[in-house]
Each structure stands twice: as C-alpha cells, then as structure tokens.
C-alpha cells in the first residue's frame, strides 16, 4: 500500500513538475503583432556594434519591482539583463533600475534629465501610466508629460522604449487604463519610439491560459514567472528594434 502511495505521489509530483516545465517554456510565447519593431533603436545598435556594451535604465514605478528578499533578482529589469546576456554574448550588458513608487508620468518626465546625466544610458525603458490612471490625470496633461519626457531623452541622444500598464483583471472596473494606453501608443508613434505593450501581452497570456492573472492570493511564484517572461519579451523587442539579430546569430555560430 505504502509503495503504491509513494509511487502515485511521485507520479503526481513528476506530472506537476513536467507541467510547470512546459508552462515555463510555452508560457512566454507572444505573437508577432504584439512585439512590433518598426522604429529602430539606433543608439542601441551603435553601442552594441562599436562599443560592445549596452547600458539600459528602467525608469518607472511600482510595477517595475517586486517586494521581498528575492524581489530585485526576480523583477523584470534583472530578468531582462539575464536574457540579453544570454542572447548577446560578448556584449557587456548593464540594466539599472530607477524606480520610485507612486509617481505620475509628469513626475517621471521631470527626472529624465537627471537620469541621462547620472546614468548615461544608451536606452531608457520608461514604464508609466498606472498612477496616472489611478489618479485620473487629464489625458492632455498625460500626453504632454509623455511627450516632454521622451523629447528630453531623445535630445540627449538616448533611445527610448515606452512601456504601458499591466493587465490587472481584478482592478479593471476601478482603474480605467484603456485611454491612457491609447495615449501612450499615440505618443510612441509621433515620437517614433517602440512601445512595449505590456497590457496587450499580459492580456494575451491571461486569455490563452498561460497565467492566471485573476489569482487573488499572495503568490510569489506567479509574480516571478510573469516578470521573467516580461524581461524576455523586452529583450526580444530590443534585439529586433536594435537590429541585433546579426550579433545574436554570430554568437550562436
């Protein structure tokens, strides 16, 4: 009896593990239309080709970090760094995280000059919009703030990726993120910068059962896995928009 139990337990365990493994490899799948790279990251291309190094700054708010002792290593900026190192060996990758919680796009836009001076990044990933949606900031003000922030970075010669909100089904009826993500898309188009559509990507994962984003409880594993996938998806956007596939294929050979 005991052996049967142990065997059953082991089998179950194995199945769960295999399932988790399958989920890990398959979960991050994103269709092409959600990662578009029509706008080129020229400074990134130059830095990778000539200097063999890439300095990236993530400027954002609470959804760019994870709490807890293993938070910093599991949040998407660290996962992005790991993914890029893997994809682009021979290139020195550094991702710094400049996160301050509860800041609006306007607050973050104001800090952009300092970011450029202090960190001298080749690329700034600007994650914003959630606090603006919570506080119901006027669309016009939000747009001006985005525009100014991107302009400041572009004037300093820094490449920019705009990153919109998370898909959070439980708070959907309380936080209307739609208009804000529309505005971010418009600014990204007008300023010719890539938009990392975190909202669309996470919604895709949720709709296709990759992740249960409806989960209410304290589930660190889910958060870590989602952030890992986001980090990898940004790495893909950077490689494609920076036209770094050549470096990547050279590395594979």
């Amino acid at each position: 009896m005991r052996t049967i139990c142990t065997a059953a337990l082991a089998a179950t365990f194995w199945l769960v593990l295999a399932g988790a493994q399958a989920a890990l490899t398959g979960a991050c799948a994103i269709p092409d239309y959600l990662v578009t790279s029509e706008y080129q990251l020229k400074r990134v291309a130059l830095a990778a080709e000539k200097r063999k190094s890439l300095r990236i700054a993530v400027v954002g708010t609470g959804s760019s970090i994870l709490a807890g002792p293993d938070g910093p290593g599991s949040a998407y900026p660290a996962r992005l760094e790991a993914a890029l190192r893997k994809r682009l060996p021979g290139i020195e990758i550094k991702v710094v995280t400049l996160v301050r919680t509860r800041l609006t796009a306007l607050d973050l836009a104001r800090s952009m000059r300092r970011v450029v001076e202090d960190e001298k990044p080749d690329l700034v990933i600007w994650q914003t919009g959630t606090i603006d949606a919570i506080r119901r900031i006027d669309q016009e003000e939000f747009k001006i703030a985005l525009d100014r922030g991107v302009e400041r970075l572009q004037k300093a010669g820094t490449d920019v990726i705009l990153m919109n909100m998370q898909y959070s089904p439980r708070t959907e009826s309380m936080i209307a993120v739609g208009p804000y993500s529309d505005t971010m898309r418009v600014v990204a188009q007008q300023r010719s910068v890539p938009l990392f559509d975190r909202l669309g990507i996470m919604r895709y994962w949720s709709d296709h059962g990759a992740f249960d984003l409806y989960a209410a409880g304290r589930d660190n594993v889910l958060a870590h896995r989602v952030h890992d996938c986001i980090g990898r998806a940004i790495a893909r956007l950077i490689v494609e928009s920076g036209r770094l596939q050549q470096i990547e294929s050279r590395a594979i050979k």
């Binding site: 708010t61 609470g62 959804s63 994870l66 709490a67 807890g68 919680t101 509860r102 959630t130 606090i131 919570i134 506080r135 119901r136 900031i137 006027d138 669309q139 016009e140 003000e141 747009k143 998370q166 959070s168 089904p169 439980r170 708070t171 959907e172 009826s173 309380m174 936080i175 209307a176 505005t183 418009v186 188009q189 007008q190 919604r203 984003l213 409806y214 989960a215 209410a216 409880g217 304290r218 589930d219 660190n220 889910l222 958060a223 989602v226 952030h227």
Partner: protein
Amino acid sequence: MHSPISPIVARPRDPTTPRDLRLDLFRGVALWLIFLDHIPSNLVSWITIRNYGFSDATEIFIFISGYTAAFVYGKVMVERGFVISSARILRRAWQIYVAHIFLFAIYLAEISYVARSFDNPLFAEEMNILDFLKQPDITIIQALLLKFKPVNMDVLPLYIILMMMFPPILWLLLRNATLALAVSAGVYAVALMFGMNLPAYPEGDWFFNPFAWQLLFVFGAWCALGGADRLTMVLSSRATLAIATAYLLVAFYIALSWHLPAVMSPRVTQWLEDVIYPIDKTNLDALRFAHFLALATVTVWFIPRTWPPLNSRWLHPAILCGQHSLEIFCLGVFLAFAGHFAMVEISGALWMQVLISVVGILTMIAAAALIAWYKRADERRAGGVSGGARQKPANADLAGGEA
C-alpha cells in the same frame, strides 16, 4: 394656452400630444449600451456605437435628457410659473444626487472587498487605488462634493449640474429660444477657449466638462421647445441626409482604423493625428457633436414619430427602460460592477460575458416594468380615493415618463 409668460416664439407641444416614444426608445437603448460599455473586457460591447464612430451612448443620453427635461418642465413653467417649475427641477437634481451617492456607497463596498481579499504581489502598484480608502474623511467628503468620482461615475454628476442650472435656461428658452441656444454655444466656445472646467479630486478636472456638455443638453431642450419643428425644412432635405450619411461613413472608416490599422495608410493616420486627434470626450469635441447630429438626422429620417413598431411589443422593453432612465441608469452601473465581479470570481470566458450582458439587460427591463407597475398602482389609487374629482397628479415626473 393661457399662461403667465405666454411664450411667443417657443411653445411646448400641446399637452394632449402624446409623448414622442422615439425619445424613450433611444434613451432605453442608450442605457443598455452604457451598461455594456461599463463592463470591462466585455466582448459584447463590440456592438455598441462607440466602436463605429466618434460619439457614443453618452451623447444620446444627455441630448434626450435635455429634450425630456424641457418637454416636462417647460409645460410646468408655462402653466404654473417659474418658481414651481424651478422647485420641481431642483427636486429632480436632488434625486439624481441621492442616486449618485447610493452608487458611491456600492463602489466603496466593492473597493473595500478588494482591499480585504486581493493580495497578489504582481499587482502591488494597482493596489494604490486603495489609497482613497486610507483617508475616508477626505475621500467621502470629496465624493459628497462631487469632486471625487470613481471610474464610470461621471455621468450623474454632470446631469446634476445640468439640472441645477436648468431653470434660468428654460426661462430664457421659453422667451427667446434662439438667444438661449446662442448663449449656450457661447459658453461652450468660451469654455473651450479658456479651458474652463470644474475641479476634481485628487487632481485635474471633471471628466465630462459641464461647460461643454451643456451645449448638447440645451440643444436637446431647444429641439423640444419648437426647435425641431423649425429644423423640419433642413431635416427633410435630401442634401442633409446625404451629408449626414457621408459624415457617418467617414467616421466609421476612421473608427475602423483604430481597431484595424491596416485599413489606412500610415500617411493618413499621421495626418489624422496631427489634425483631428484627440477627439476629446471631456470637452465634447465638435467632431463628436457633429457625429451625434448626423446620427440623429439619419435616425429621424428613417424613423418617423408615427413609426408603427414604436407601439409593438418588441420595442416596448427598451421604451420602458427609457421612461425610467434614472433608476435604470443606476441599476446599469451597479450591474456592471456586479457583472465584473462575477467575471473575476467565476469565469471571464466569452460565454460568461454574453450571459452577464443578456442577464443584465433582462434585469434592467424587469426593474423598469416593476417601477412602471408601482407608478400605475399609485396613480390608480390617487384617482380612486378622490373619486375622479381630483385631476391626475400633476407630478411632472409621472406625466408620461420622467424627465
């Protein structure tokens, strides 16, 4: 009509004229569409008109509310004078205020539930929405002052302000309708030029700028008080119909490009971005207003006042909802909350979205039927007790539906 102010130019319809059922029909439909649009991630909301042009159900709701307010209270003002009619209008504003605060209580219940039950570390940032809960002293007072307005709770505060300022507008409309409309357009223009709006909490302005949206409300009132008759020439011309149809088609094409960018060349998209975007909802963008006018023009062309289906059984549910718009609107906001809650707790699958949408609309119809039954019972009793000696209760809200 012997009246203390004897209107010369504008004259409300003869009280014996039956109420225009088209108003109730389209307001009822607008209430259904608002309900569908308020459920987040609801695929059924693809059928609502906001996806096919610039304007949405809000325009229909505000226009018809202005029309019926003038229709109901204009008669009272003509028959019983300024003071009585103003008192009735302000009582109506008070009812809407109470309804709004009731909805706010439901919102507080929902957000408190989320605060207690939701602890997913992935969404720590989204939980900042609960900051409002940490300062109930400020949040609740700001809500009572109509400055703090949660998502999807912006229409009733607009309606309250519009009703509060309606007595002088109605007075002017009855004396010189054209002048009143001109004043309204002037306020709209000045508000746009100088960025006039009411302040909101925690920051910014009202989502529906009352100084801009009053134009649609007053225009509706103007139409009710003879304006529509004066527009008959324009409305019955084929050229007008052609222009309106063309405008709707262009708007449809542009709206299509929001969802399928491939239908439009990038050059045209760029041009649209530079020239016409954003189509501002807060300040009732002129393009939205024009879109509503075009929609209304085409509608009245094909659906005359005496359209037989208006009296059919099939359209009765929508008409019923439109006749009790305040209650049904509030119910719709509540049902949207409840529907989203069911999607979160049970399933967000497509069948669930369809089920919630259908059950929601059926609930709205049932509630409207119940309210109508109460009102009929009350009226019958009032008539029975006084043995027919007393006239039908002169309550404007009950005279063939509410304002």
